[in-house]
């Protein structure tokens, strides 16, 4: 340590900095935690995502507005509580499959990538798990093959992007074309009927009055939330997407993590393939058409930054549910899908515009202590 007089006003404390992390004294750590809590009084559920939570509350507001519009335009239907409950369930069922795909997509986008091949992966996994040969292994075999196909295709995406240095857009666009081609090849362009009662029952059966598909969505969303917010995997995802160079120089294996992200997206597609197969009691190469657009749009509405580094699972879920509610709103009013698509397009733009305004005012607000050079 420095001896003698220091010719500066520089604080002595800096000089006495502990060079090594001292053995952690549990009492000291607890004290520090307590101090932080006392400073901020942050609730555990809010965590550090204050901004994300505010944004999600806004999305919840949009959802409420949509429901109110539904109640006003079809007050006759909304007067029947049983109908309302059934309608909520049908909205959630509508959201379930795309919702699962969107959870994977959210990870990929936060990690700085994009996956255009999700719809094609769902189709390939669906077709693969409904071939006569696979069905002969029963429900377990079908589920295993769908998940394996999803993960395998995702791994190929990830490897092409990480180690082949392809731009994610190109790699997954190529996979979109190729996977649907393979699905058509395997199925011989035929619709493959699923005879498995367990699989088909996932869509038709209920538990406590709620369709099993909705439980699957809830489980995937919960797992995704924990993975993103409470694990090192999630932290790496934000780092890799937010600043890949900083992540790399901090010792994070960016390439390996990128591969894992696409594999995760593939896994979600495998799960979605089973759900979709269950809904239709069949699979075909054209299934899950344009799911990639629905999933990307939902993630973006949910506040995921397309350039990576920011996003929430809850926001993405709300994005999916908002889309499903709009579809439902048009259906109960007997309006055309064309008008519905126009509204959806408008909502995407409006959501991004609103978020930009929020973000700008927020950065200005935070900029109050910034030294302007």
């Amino acid at each position: 340590m420095t001896e003698g007089p220091t010719p500066t006003a520089a604080p002595e404390r800096a000089a006495q900095l502990p060079a090594q992390s001292p053995p952690v004294d549990p009492a000291e750590t607890a004290g520090a935690v307590h101090k932080v809590a006392a400073q901020g009084r942050i609730s555990w559920w809010r965590g550090d995502g204050g901004e994300g939570v505010r944004r999600n509350l806004g999305l919840l507001g949009v959802l409420v507005v949509l429901i109110v519009i539904g109640a006003l335009t079809r007050s006759d239907l909304y007067s029947d509580p049983d109908w309302v409950w059934d309608n909520v369930l049908s909205i959630l069922k509508l959201a379930a499959v795309v919702g699962v795909v969107t959870v994977g997509m959210t990870f990929v986008i936060i990690g700085g990538g994009i996956d255009l091949s999700v719809g094609a992966i769902v189709a390939l996994a669906g077709v693969w798990c409904t071939t006569v040969a696979t069905q002969s292994y029963g429900a377990g075999g079908m589920i295993f093959s769908a998940l394996t196909v999803g993960v395998a295709v995702g791994l190929v995406n990830g490897l092409l992007i990480s180690y082949g240095r392809l731009v994610p857009f190109i790699a997954t666009l190529a996979m979109l074309v190729a996977a649907r081609g393979l699905a058509a090849e395997i199925s011989d362009k035929q619709t493959q009927v699923s005879d498995n009662t367990f699989i088909n029952g996932l869509a038709s059966n209920h538990l406590l009055g709620i369709p099993l598909l909705v439980y699957i969505l809830a489980a995937v969303v919960a797992a995704g939330w924990v993975l993103l917010n409470r694990t090192t995997f999630g932290r790496r995802t934000v780092a890799v997407g937010g600043n890949p160079e900083a992540a790399r120089l901090a010792g994070i294996n960016v390439r390996r993590h990128t591969v894992l992200l696409y594999a995760l997206s593939g896994l979600c597609c495998g799960i979605a393939a089973i759900m979709l197969t269950a809904q239709a009691n069949s699979a075909q190469a054209a299934m899950a058409n344009l799911y990639e657009l629905d999933a990307i749009a939902a993630a973006i509405i949910g506040g995921t930054l397309l350039s990576g580094g920011r996003g929430t699972i809850i926001g993405s879920l709300l994005g999916v549910v908002i889309f499903a509610t709009i579809t439902n709103l048009f259906a109960i009013n007997g309006l055309s899908t064309e008008a519905q698509n126009m509204v959806k397009g408008g909502i995407i733009v409006a959501a991004v515009l609103v978020q930009q305004v929020q973000f700008r005012s927020l950065t200005q607000f935070l900029g109050r202590n910034r030294l302007t050079t």
Partner: protein
Amino acid sequence: MSAEDRGAPLVEAPDDAVAGEVVLRLTDVVKTFPGVRALDGVQLEVRAGEVHCLLGQNGAGKSTLIKVLAGVHRPDSGRVEWRGEPVAFANPQAAMRAGIATIYQELDLVEDLSVGENAFLGHEPRRFGFVRRGTMARRTRQILGRLGHAEIPPGRMVRALPAAGKQIVSMARALSHEARLIIMDEPSAVLAHDEVGNLFRIIRELTAQGIAVIYISHRLEEIREIGDRVTVLKDGRTTAANLPARDTPTRDLVSRMTGRTIEYVFPDRPSGAADGAELLTVEGLTRAGEFADVSLRVRAGEIVGIAGLVGSGRSELLETVYGARRPDAGSVRMAGRALRPGSVGAAVRAGMGMAPEERKSQALLLGEPIYRNVTLATFARYARAGFTDVGRERAEADRIAESLELRPRDVRRPVRTLSGGNQQKVVVGRWLLGDTRLLLLDEPTRGVDVGARAELYQVIRGLAAGGVGVLLVSSEVPEVLGLADRVLVMREGRVVREAPAGELDENTVLDLVMAGSLMEGAPA
């Protein structure tokens, strides 16, 4: 800061230093952003045909002032007079049309357009909506001729030009607008040493044509060489105006910027020479075109400094030692064990940490909270079975923030909101967690103000005293000499001298560093 704390009284030098008419006069200009008074009463007077230097620390308000002049920001109050008329530019185009051109540090050129297209970007000579390519090329050639660079072909893609060439294209753009005032924000920062002379020659030609230049630089010797008058800013206020650039004593300039009279304050070296165990052993490290056959050693508790110009291969060397680049030849060993080449993960596991040259693009997640940036390299160690321990992370980051005197101290704030010096503390602080035994620092005080510098020096010295080895790269020779125990001088990818810091002085090192580039042209 309070109103009473108005600092030193405004000094005005006699007005006869420059003869030209006053083209620009700022009186009491104030610009406030939410929560910060970036400009707090700026006076500035610029005459035709002079090089007016703006001097000030980071955060003094230079950038904001430029942006006010360039029409990016509008002042809240005060007067801006341009050629005798009060003006308020609504946008950058308005400032351009009025004849004020700004050359930013990050040149705002379109890399995939040609030199001519960049020079006339947004006001291409045209007829019936079609660009008159012939006219554009001819006028571009004329302007480049005026700048003394007729050899640059107007049709060449800007991407293909070196940094100095790009800067000339930026100046050509300014001249294509018939600029009467050209603002240059640290133009020498992107240039190699021998190119600066060329820049000065161009500036002299511009001023001879009656064009005024506002020149911003941190390098006092440049200001002395090219400047006519100097205006000093501190905390958004003009503390001295119109000082003669050549013969105002350095001490005066620095004290106007800082309120202090010394620029570098280094902690004392410990008396006994560092004789800790050998930590880092680099043998014959080579990367083609960057550096060749570099061998060096760092002992525990020792600070080794590398002096060298930008382009001497010093940053590349540091990144290769760290595994961020793969060497063509040679080895890196930590405490005797060879590291897998080209693997940052292996280096970090062996106890290395690095604070890279570009803080924002290479080290920080700007939108993420401070604590997550501090624990970016260690969060996995605090995790249990893959689940992060945010409470522990905050506590550790809090401890680091306190020991480094981070301001503001709340570790949940986004790193974006910190000043440059505090951001650097976050980057260094990252490696104080965990078991870092060797810290690689690339330009640790770039963009850091003088006060925070002294604190960072204390931190680095304190680390060494605790047994950490430090390998430090800096373009500022006094920094290397003042901080390091042992100094390596690099030139053109080779170590040309190694000696204890006490045996070297600034002039010797500068001579060694620049010898090649002055005599034989730019390094490859």
